[in-house]
Assembly symmetry: C2
Homo-oligomer: 234 residues x 2
DNA sequence: CTCGTTCAAATAATGTATGATCCGACCGTT
DNA sequence: AACGGTCGGATCATACATTATTTGAACGAG
């Protein structure tokens, strides 16, 4: 997704000394510092993030495009609730798109691609979840090897946008042991199916992978909620 | 799609004495007045549309979110080429999403829904393409009856966004007689399958409907291009 | 003389500041 | 309940400051 018109890459997220207003607001929405349905007043946000109103307005437009904020004309913006339904909605769409992208990848894959996939997977296994954020990056890169080649830029961008959202959300929760194991297994299985030129099989694995990841996130969200929602005011 | 966070409804498009900057820029991109890859300079646009730079900036952010413009940091925006590939990309995604939405609709449909669909279809047939823009509205409403009920708001919004884009693009081209006939036939067929609780059948009809509509648009774009691309500078 | 490098002016994006205007929510009166 | 006034806040208009990129001319090495 190199470069144009897309959300900053993962690496920048943490390194950037000063993140953009956009990133900060998004982070605050995902982390819950800005609560569900909370009104987002331009002036307040500008003050809070120490900028002028202009960058705030633009950030809100962007966030609206990505589904993080809802806007009504002349009435301003509010935080879209990041709840289980939100994740489920995205996952359902991904369960349609990712298998389709994967299918196509199988039809054009070459040896170098397989090598790259295996290298990425090896790196993931070597890390073995020692650093969750880093794992997120590697995992994203793994799938990116598959999707970024697709001729349908729109679909690839859509995947990327959804991926960013899901990665940001799951960052808040721990990964269960069983899920960790499943992820590695499914990745290996996926590589196998791709190598074997089994488009249907690969698509099925991906569908399962996406669904499993979504289900896991949703479950973790439920756990966190039952353990007491600790929204602190911004 | 009632209200929040969405592009203005079709009706407003034509009625609004003065459309927003966002709408005007979008219109100029779709209609080709702003050519592919043309640079979009904030100051120029502000002057051209007789507004200040502020609304222009926001409009560009919005358009970026919808895929009409591409932006690079510190280098500004340019027009995303609205070509056959662009339409094809969107259509491919819709061919995944719309059947899925339709399938779910079949499982929850009631008598009132059928009646509403038939009424909408009757209106379309009564109009019989006499007014293309009006037809576009009615056709959109027909499908909206099916998709707007879905619990997956994200998917429904995505459909709506794509729908708006496609409708805007096809407004530039005439509809062939055969396509007109096919649309009416497919709509009737779709209602039948839904009434018969045939989810697979309905999904198949929709897939065909979307593909046919996309193919037709792409063909018309090709024709228009061969007849000489008449891009006039803004 | 040609090519690549360096640097400075021009260009334009991005951020700040401030005031005007308009819309919608709220509130009290009739 | 209907009306009108008040107020918060979004939206728009300007003007200006800052920062990044591009361009092209001057310059030096080969």
């Amino acid at each position: 997704m190199s470069g144009i018109s897309v959300t900053p890459t993962p690496a920048e997220d943490s390194l950037d000394q000063q993140a953009s207003v956009y990133e900060m607001i998004r982070e605050d929405i995902i982390s819950g510092r800005l609560g569900p349905n909370e009104r987002l007043k331009i002036a307040d946000l500008a003050e809070h993030y120490r900028t002028s109103t202009n960058p705030v307005r633009e950030a809100l437009q962007q966030l609206r495009g990505e589904g993080f904020v809802l806007m009504e004309p002349n009435r301003g913006a509010r935080v879209r609730p990041i709840d289980e339904a939100f994740v489920r909605d995205i996952i359902e769409i991904e369960m349609l798109i990712e298998p389709a992208l994967t299918r196509w990848f199988v039809s054009i894959v070459n040896d170098a691609d397989i090598v790259a996939l295996e290298a990425a997977q090896a790196e993931i296994e070597a890390l073995n979840y020692a650093d969750p954020a880093r794992h997120g990056e590697l995992d994203t890169r793994f799938h990116q090897l598959i999707y970024d080649r697709h001729y349908n830029r729109h679909a690839a961008e859509l995947w990327w946008k959804h991926r960013e959202i899901l990665r940001a959300i799951s960052r808040r929760f721990p990964t269960s042991l069983s899920r960790k194991v499943a992820v590695l297994r499914e990745h290996r299985e996926l590589i196998e199916r791709i190598r074997a030129q089994d488009a249907d099989g690969a698509a099925a694995v991906v569908a399962r992978h996406v669904e499993g990841s979504g289900r896991h996130t949703i479950e973790q969200m439920g756990v966190a909620k039952r353990n007491g929602p600790q929204k602190r005011p911004v």
